[in-house]
């Protein structure tokens, strides 16, 4: 079961090490992790995605909660959260028409195109993982030279009616 865990931690040296070490020492798996400072400079938010069964997931959350440097641990409901990943993809250009085709695809996926060269083009896509995978499938035919992903970052939606 793929899950997104949002953890507020003390913004101090060594906390990321402790969190990742917890996963290692208890034999849990981290699929992705992203860390950044929050509106409160003393606190960082970690967004961790993991594949675990229900029992293991409940343990992961309890063990994270038990850590003294964690302020809050939340299992995010995909439907009630916004989650995105940013990916940079360097795609191979073999013939001049490739540039236009890839740019069209990129536009269809609301991606930005950077660094257009004779032999390669860099596409920046920010989307949900399944949308990113769909895009990746489409451009694979051109040849993907390099790829980098930030890992998921996520936020719970607000309360009340959407306007």
């Amino acid at each position: 079961m793929w899950s997104i865990i949002s953890v507020l931690v003390e913004n101090k040296p060594g906390v990321l090490f402790k969190v990742t070490h917890l996963f290692r020492s208890r034999n849990y798996n981290i699929d992705s992790i992203s860390v950044g400072i929050t509106e409160n400079p003393e606190i960082s938010r970690m967004t961790i995605t993991t594949s675990a069964d229900e029992k293991q997931l409940s343990q992961i959350i309890k063990q994270l909660d038990k850590m003294i440097d964690t302020v809050e641990v939340k299992l995010l409901d995909e439907k009630k959260s916004i989650y995105r990943e940013l990916v940079l993809m360097k795609v191979k250009i073999t013939k001049p028409s490739d540039i236009m085709e890839i740019t069209d695809l990129a536009n269809a996926f609301k991606c930005n195109v950077h660094d257009v060269r004779k032999s390669s083009i860099v596409v920046e896509i920010t989307a949900t993982p399944d949308r990113i995978n769909a895009f990746e499938d489409l451009v694979r035919a051109y040849g993907i030279l390099e790829i980098t992903r930030t890992g998921i970052c996520a936020l719970e939606r607000g309360v009340g009616n959407e306007s």
Partner: protein
């Protein structure tokens, strides 16, 4: 506010926490601390190896139920206490380990005697601090004691770079501290306790399983009241041994790999268990799947992460165990629930106990473990504190040494650290000098920290080492006999050294006891003489610990002596 060095502020902060004794060994990177220790009123116990300092602090902490403190220098000094920290963590013992570190500007330069002790100990501490300025020290010490002693206790490391010890700062000593992500006090859920009572009352074959949490929280009286009001038999984990008087009519003793036969049998037959401060370790429950089959589990624990970790729980009560049990006692009294013991289940319990007591064959050797340990029990006052090492003698102690006064038995049960018992006994003696302290030992374990004899003698912390000497690593030998077709390797200790002479060379008393009668006399001599004593008891190397639940098998498959 007062201007002083980091090292001085450490002493002041320790004194404010009531720490009047530290166990340690000085070295280059903690000399500023020792220089201030020289000027303070804190008693220093000089160990011969830092590992023993950590075990002494652990023993002190378990007995006094407040953190014991140990000091070590950087590098090898710090790595030498790693085993002690891991032992304390595995058994939830309160401890503060304070290490010297190379100066801040040398960190990361692979300096002489530099080790990343914060990184090394990360998974085995409850928390770790590395103050990088002197002014942080008072608050760090306050937080360290708070974290170590509250909730589920555990070891806290404070790693102080040498220049931070030396630098002066205006010091503020906080009277209390708050930590945003740490909330050790949780009020037990009254509704759940009420449901737990209903579940116990409606079950036909209830059992109480008392774990180490009962001893840590000192909930002896509450536990006994509940057992007596509901007339429910009590089994314990090995760590919980002595949470309940083992001569009580409702007591069945420890369950597990080397649990009492009657305890394992009744545990398997039970339909409902009230587990108090237990983490359902594999050594206690055999296999997780088999244990929880047809069993309703009520789990009370201070640590929410223990709920559902190893067993599926039906009712979970999170909170300080003493508070939870006290609430339960109050409810039982309010509801005027007072059962008598006249029911088929208790009859079955008593018959089972009687059956195994009559039928279990004891080892025929004149110095069989049962006879030896029952003799020790006979001559040792009930309030005496007993520690053990790790191995066969430890499991025989579990089987044959009844704890009469709750909270007087301590062992390295989680990590299983050989060499723990003797220094821990010295730490226990420091915490309670007025009672006799005995380390039930095997010679394989005793070899590992025997140089603490110097401490026991010179620092006037006399303990008795009750040495069951089978000239071998007996538990390994038993496993090789049982599981490896008697291919015996790496177990023969060849009757070396002579423990009487060894004791004497340290200025301690060495007595060889070769009969049950001599054992009784030796213990009495040791109790009267009030000097460190090693009682060397040559036992039969062929004796196995039985009953035995083989690893990875359920309790019901326990092997009995044939």
């Amino acid at each position: 506010m007062e201007k002083m060095s980091g090292a001085r502020s450490l002493m002041v902060a320790l004194e404010k926490e009531g720490a009047n004794i530290v166990f340690g060994l000085p070295g280059g990177a903690n000399l500023p601390i020792y220089d201030e220790l020289y000027k303070s009123n804190i008693r220093h116990i000089l160990v011969r190896h830092e590992q023993s300092a950590s075990h002494m602090a652990d023993g002190f902490g378990r007995v006094s139920r407040r953190p014991g403190v140990c000091f070590a220098t950087s590098g090898p000094g710090a790595t030498n206490i790693v085993t002690g920290i891991a032992t304390a963590q595995a058994d939830s013992a309160p401890m503060i380990a304070i290490t010297g570190q190379v100066p801040t500007k040398m960190i990361g330069k692979d300096a002489f005697q530099e080790s990343d002790i914060i990184g090394i100990t990360n998974p085995i501490v409850k928390y770790a601090f590395q103050p990088m300025t002197a002014a942080e020290i008072p608050e760090v010490v306050k937080k360290a004691f708070y974290i170590s002693a509250t909730g589920r206790p555990g070891p806290v490391l404070i790693d102080i770079p040498k220049d931070v010890q030396q630098n002066e700062a205006e010091m503020v000593f906080p009277s209390e501290v708050k930590i945003r992500g740490y909330h050790p006090w949780v009020d037990p859920d009254i509704g759940k306790i009420e449901r737990a009572i209903d579940m116990l009352l409606s079950s036909e074959r209830p059992v109480i399983l008392a774990g180490g949490g009962v001893i840590i929280s000192g909930a002896f009286a509450e536990l006994q009241s509940i057992a007596e009001l509901l007339m429910i038999p009590v089994v314990t984990t090995f760590k919980g041994k002595g949470a309940f008087p083992e001569n009580h009519p409702l007591s069945l003793g420890p369950i597990g790999m080397h649990g009492h036969a009657e305890a394992n049998k009744i545990m398997v037959e039970a339909d409902c268990v009230l587990a108090c401060g237990s983490r359902f370790s594999d050594r206690s429950v055999g296999t997780f799947e088999e244990f929880e089959k047809n069993l309703k589990i009520i789990h009370m624990d201070v640590d929410p992460a223990e709920i559902g970790k190893n067993q599926t729980t039906h009712i979970a009560v999170v909170g300080d165990l003493k508070a939870s049990l006290r609430t339960m006692v109050k409810m039982l009294i309010q509801k005027a629930i007072k059962k008598n013991g006249d029911n088929p289940w208790l009859k079955r319990v008593n018959e089972t106990r009687e059956y195994f007591r009559q039928s279990l064959k004891l080892h025929p050797h004149p110095l069989g473990a049962a006879k030896v340990l029952r003799k020790l029990r006979e001559v040792l006052p009930a309030q005496s504190i007993v520690t053990t090492e790790v191995g066969q003698h430890q499991m025989w102690a579990s089987l044959f040494f009844d704890v009469i006064q709750p909270g007087t038995f301590f062992s390295s049960t989680g990590l299983g650290t050989m060499g723990w018992g003797f220094p821990a006994a010295i730490g226990a003696k420091a915490a309670k000098p007025e009672v006799p302290v005995v380390d039930i030992a095997g010679e394989g374990s005793f070899n590992m920290t025997e140089n603490s004899l110097a401490v026991s003698v010179l620092d006037d912390l006399p303990v008795i080492v009750f040495l069951l000497n089978n000239f071998s690593l007996g538990m390994v030998a038993q496993w090789q006999r049982t599981f490896y077709d008697r291919r015996m390797i790496g177990i023969d200790l060849k009757n070396c050294p002579d423990y009487v002479k060894l004791a004497e060379s340290y200025g301690a008393q060495g007595i060889r006891a070769q009969s049950i009668d001599e054992i009784g006399k030796a213990v009495q001599t040791a109790l009267k003489s009030n000097i460190a004593t090693v009682i060397d008891i040559p036992i039969d190397p062929q004796e196995d610990v039985l009953p035995f639940v083989a690893p990875g098998t359920p309790l019901k498959d326990m092997i009995l002596p044939s």
